[in-house]
Amino acid sequence: MTLDRPTAIAATGLRKSYGEQTVLDGIDISVPEGTVFSLLGPNGAGKTTTVQILSTLIEADGGSVRVAGHDLATDADGIRGAIGVTGQFSAVDNLLTGEENLLLMADLNHLDRREGRRRTAELLERFDLVDAAKKTPALYSGGMRRKLDLAMTLVGDPKVIFLDEPTTGLDPRTRRIMWDAIRGLVAGGVTIFLTTQYLEEADELADRIALLDHGKIVAEGTSDELKRLIPGGHIRLQFTDPAELDQAARTFAGSTRDDAALALQVPSDGDVDSLRAVLDHLDVASIEVASLTVHTPDLDDVFLALTGRPAESAADADDTQQKETVR
């Protein structure tokens, strides 16, 4: 579906090192217009560096980049005019009110005064910040700051938006609000480049996901494609009668039975063929099943399998948030 769309972000062979340490070791990225691309990886994988390069903040050591039709090497200002960036660290002016922050963005986007005011009012409304408009961000909660931050990014109507860990440290409710805002943007044709350490977030939002580890993309695809890359899926059969469980356990070699729960786990990669095969076997053996659920591996399993360690724990994420609040 997305194959014939023009490419909004194209990077080939991106490299970056700081002294001895290689942060990006030749990564390729291609994001079609109007889609969400998520770069997923643990802290230090190179996510922020990638965003900084693509958003013209720092220069790569090698590789080429085109964003919204502009070449990074020759027309960085063209890129700047087309993008918006909401970084991991809050990029609001703490001494200006929320409204003044938005008006500042309107001025810097060279909107005329009336258009700037209209846009500001609209964004305050949209992000539920009307009551906080006259207050400085020092009095905002973390979620409100993040919403103001995103609103400021949107003043210039960017075609491509980079979101660097936009929901790190946010409470679930604010995270949902951010997600809805992101979906709304995509519906309006905006391309989103999202980095996150939350597998759930990539799963929820992204059309395509790339797993970044030690400066290399170790896997890329849709959420489902990635999940299929690794084993660990199974079909769980629930019984009411222990005799049926016995019979099923004999039918499916390699299955694991749970006598207490009267359930049987049959290994499966979760696709339709394997499900049909299980159903056929049940039919042939006339086994009565109370219910059936298909378990596909989640991105956590994918992450563990591909990088050899679990994804960022919630505790780490809280840490990041605390650091940010202290700053």
Partner: protein, 263 residues
Amino acid sequence: MSALALAARDSRTMLRRNMRRWARYPAMTVQLIALPVIMLLMFAFVFGETLGAGLGGAAGDRGDYIEYLVPGILLMTVAAAIQGTAISVAMDMHEGIIARFRTMAISRGAVLTGHVIGSFLQTLVGLAIVFGVALLIGFRPDANMAEWVAAVGLLCLFAIALTWLAVAMGLQAKSVETASNTPTLLVLLPFLGSGFVPTDSMPAGLRWFAEYQPFSPVIETLRGLLLGTEIGNNGVLALGWTAVIGVLGYFWALKLFRRPPVR
């Protein structure tokens, strides 16, 4: 819009932003202007009589000392004001908003120009206040029109030059807390020059430094323009120092600003 018009518009926006920030956080401005005023009053009324007597002239008194003191205090006003510049530049650099500015299609130098123009205006306000106080306590310059223009012009040029230096110092600072460390040394320079006492009363080594450091020629030139004392080659030295400081500060600041952000 042409590139120049855009640069002007963005600089104006940044200037407005800086003015708002000061309005929201006036304590720093007040504090920075209060310092030279307090110094002026203290030296005039606490030390004035004694120092006036020591000036050399037979009938030196407080009035004579106030005349002698004001040019140095004016430069101290400039030096104090640019501490604020260094602090607000450092604050900017350590807030995420500067990264946002860098990813926007705005004139590259606008952030810095906004700071420089804003600080310069702030310095002018400070100078006007200090000068007003000086007049109130009996400072009576005898300059003609041309001398006034020259004195104000020199002060402005020197202020702009020091402001660029302060911008660079603010960019260089590792944290907001340390941003004012180096500029603070500048506030002391009038003491280690001809700001408070004539340099020929100092021991040889110090005297050599005091006569050639940048503030002394500017102070001597101002003194000459406002009060008719001998200027000699101090006028040339003052302009030379101003040019050197300004050009160095400007290019140092630009170099630091182009440096990619740390995180």
